[in-house]
């Protein structure tokens, strides 16, 4: 029989239709409102900084990565998220460097998409924060005309930024070092100092809700983080009224952006649901500890990075219980990797 040209593939012969690049691009798309909010508050500087970090990330992925991986969208996503954690006045060369470092050392040396242990955007940011602690804690005020630069964005590569922009302490800095609160409304709307993407809590929550609904992010992680932070800070506030209350803790700083977009990076989060709860609780606790007892006003980035390091152990401790057995999969003893 001269039949059709036959293809043979393995079962299952059908697929659910979602692909990894589609997930990445969907998340990118969901970030557009957040970027718009950043541009609304910080004008052209916001767009410049984000563009620079995306460029850094994409160029690193293109040059150092395997062939054709830029198209999967993950590098662009990393760049965008990195950009959103930076202050508007940051010199562009730093944002570019951060993107490149995040992708190069946070992702590609581990083997590229899927294999990295630490969130590449946060590796990039942690690198920048350790390298340029002054520049990255210089927070321009919101408002102003769209075309006004919010800092020395165009400082020459290698050169220090001229410090002439109007800056303001972030709500967390105000709270921690001066004991001053910020009205909740301002926090929700985003009319406060801070990094590009962290200010508009409401917008981020809406985008996150959309992603959770579409199944692109695991709702357990943000929920677990919010829950832990709320409970812990409410308790502490109850003991010592000088400590910030729960709404402030939830909606100030990078918590919302971190919980919704960065802790949920599935590559660097546990695969099991129980592990995700554990991971989320860990992030929540660390955020509160660092914010209240640590030296830094904000701890979301470090909390996520630290829990990233604990992900293999979270996975190992929460392997599913196999159907028809009383036992979990070999964890501590047998050596569950991941």
């Amino acid at each position: 029989m001269t039949g059709p040209h036959l293809v043979v593939t393995a079962s299952p012969h059908l697929g659910a239709g979602d692909t990894t690049p589609r997930i990445m691009w969907q998340v990118v798309a969901s970030l557009l409102p957040v970027i718009a909010a950043a541009a609304w508050f910080f004008g052209v500087s916001a767009l410049l900084v984000i563009t620079a970090s995306v460029a850094g990330a994409v160029i690193a992925e293109r040059v150092l990565g395997r062939e054709g991986t830029v198209a999967d969208g993950s590098a662009i996503l990393t760049g965008l998220l990195l950009g959103l954690t930076l202050p508007a006045g940051l010199p562009l060369w730093m944002a570019f460097l951060g993107g490149g470092f995040g992708i190069g050392l946070g992702k590609l040396v581990f083997g590229g998409l899927g294999y990295n242990v630490f969130n590449p955007a946060l590796v990039g940011r942690a690198f920048l924060q350790a390298a340029f602690p002054v520049a990255i804690t210089t927070w321009p005020v919101t408002g102003g005309r769209f075309w006004t630069l919010r800092g020395d964005n165009f400082a020459l590569p290698g050169w220090r930024a001229a410090t002439d922009a109007v800056t303001a302490a972030t709500p967390l800095g105000l709270q921690k070092f001066e004991g001053k609160g910020t009205p909740l409304r301002e926090l929700l709307v985003g009319n406060t100092g801070g990094s590009l993407g962290e200010t508009a809590a409401i917008v981020i929550l809406l985008c996150g809700a959309y992603l959770a609904w579409r199944g692109y992010l695991n709702w357990r992680i943000p929920s677990g983080i919010f829950l832990t932070v709320a409970v812990l800070s409410a308790t502490l506030h109850g003991f010592d009224a000088r400590l910030p209350d729960a709404p402030f803790m939830l909606f100030s700083g990078g918590l919302v952006l971190g919980a919704v977009y960065m802790a949920t990076d599935m590559v660097t989060a546990p695969v099991t649901n129980a592990g995700r709860w554990l991971y989320a609780a860990g992030i929540g606790v660390l955020v509160v500890v660092i914010r209240i007892w640590g030296g830094l006003p904000e701890g979301v980035m470090y909390a996520i990075l630290l829990m990233n390091a604990l992900v293999p152990l979270c996975n190992r401790a929460t392997q599913p219980r196999v159907f028809g057995t009383g036992a979990r999969q070999p964890g501590a003893a047998g050596g569950a990797i991941q």
């Binding site: 294999y115 007892w293 990075l305 050596g335 991941q338």
Partner: protein, 192 residues
């Protein structure tokens, strides 16, 4: 009490022996391919650190007051001998453990963390309980770093790490990331 707590937390997290003080890198890079081994080595180290703190306190208190110039040599000789005894004991009673830790057990002697602890303890003039807290913090911090590194390396065992990074390169990059992450603990306990 607060003082002891700070000493412990500081050695465990803020000034983690491995990740911020660069002490004990040989086991950190050498014996972290499996979590199970890392845990055991970490605990062995914790044990030796406690012994060391004890010895250092004893020597400082009763022997070296008059002869500070002999500090280093006394520390190293005493610690080396003690570890050798411990090593023999392990070899006798747990041949499996001995085989798994292999050549690294004698190297615990020649491990910066151990001697470093003794020196820090002396320089900072820690008393007995302070020394113990310091040793516990340092030992747990070392174990934590070892276990984290080992669990990450186990995960990377099945990853597609590029050829140039395989081996020590990737381990150093992981260490850099861990060290970056631990910067989050900076200032912890210095409460204003």
């Amino acid at each position: 009490m607060g003082d002891l707590a700070w000493i412990l937390i500081s050695a465990l997290l803020v000034n983690n022996f491995v990740l911020t003080l660069f002490l004990g890198l040989c086991p950190f890079f050498g014996v972290t391919s499996r979590v199970s081994t890392a845990v055991r080595l970490g605990l062995a180290n914790l044990f030796v650190l406690l012994l060391t703190a004890l010895c250092a306190w004893f020597l400082n208190r009763f022997v070296l007051g008059e002869a500070p110039y002999l500090r280093l040599i006394a520390f190293i000789v005493v610690i080396a001998s003690l570890v050798q005894i411990v090593e023999m004991a392990i070899k006798k009673w747990s041949p499996v453990l001995f085989r798994q830790l292999g050549i690294y057990l004698p190297l615990i002697t020649t491990n910066c963390a151990i001697l470093g602890l003794a020196i820090f303890q002396t320089n900072r003039g820690y008393g007995f309980w302070q020394g113990m807290a310091f040793a516990v913090g340092a030992g747990l911090g070392l174990t934590l770093a070892l276990v984290l590194m080992a669990s990450i390396r186990e995960r990377l065992d099945v990853a597609d790490v590029p050829a140039v990074a395989r081996g020590t390169g990737i381990v150093l990059i992981i260490a850099a990331c861990l060290s970056l992450a631990f910067m989050g603990f900076a200032g912890l306990g210095s409460s204003l």
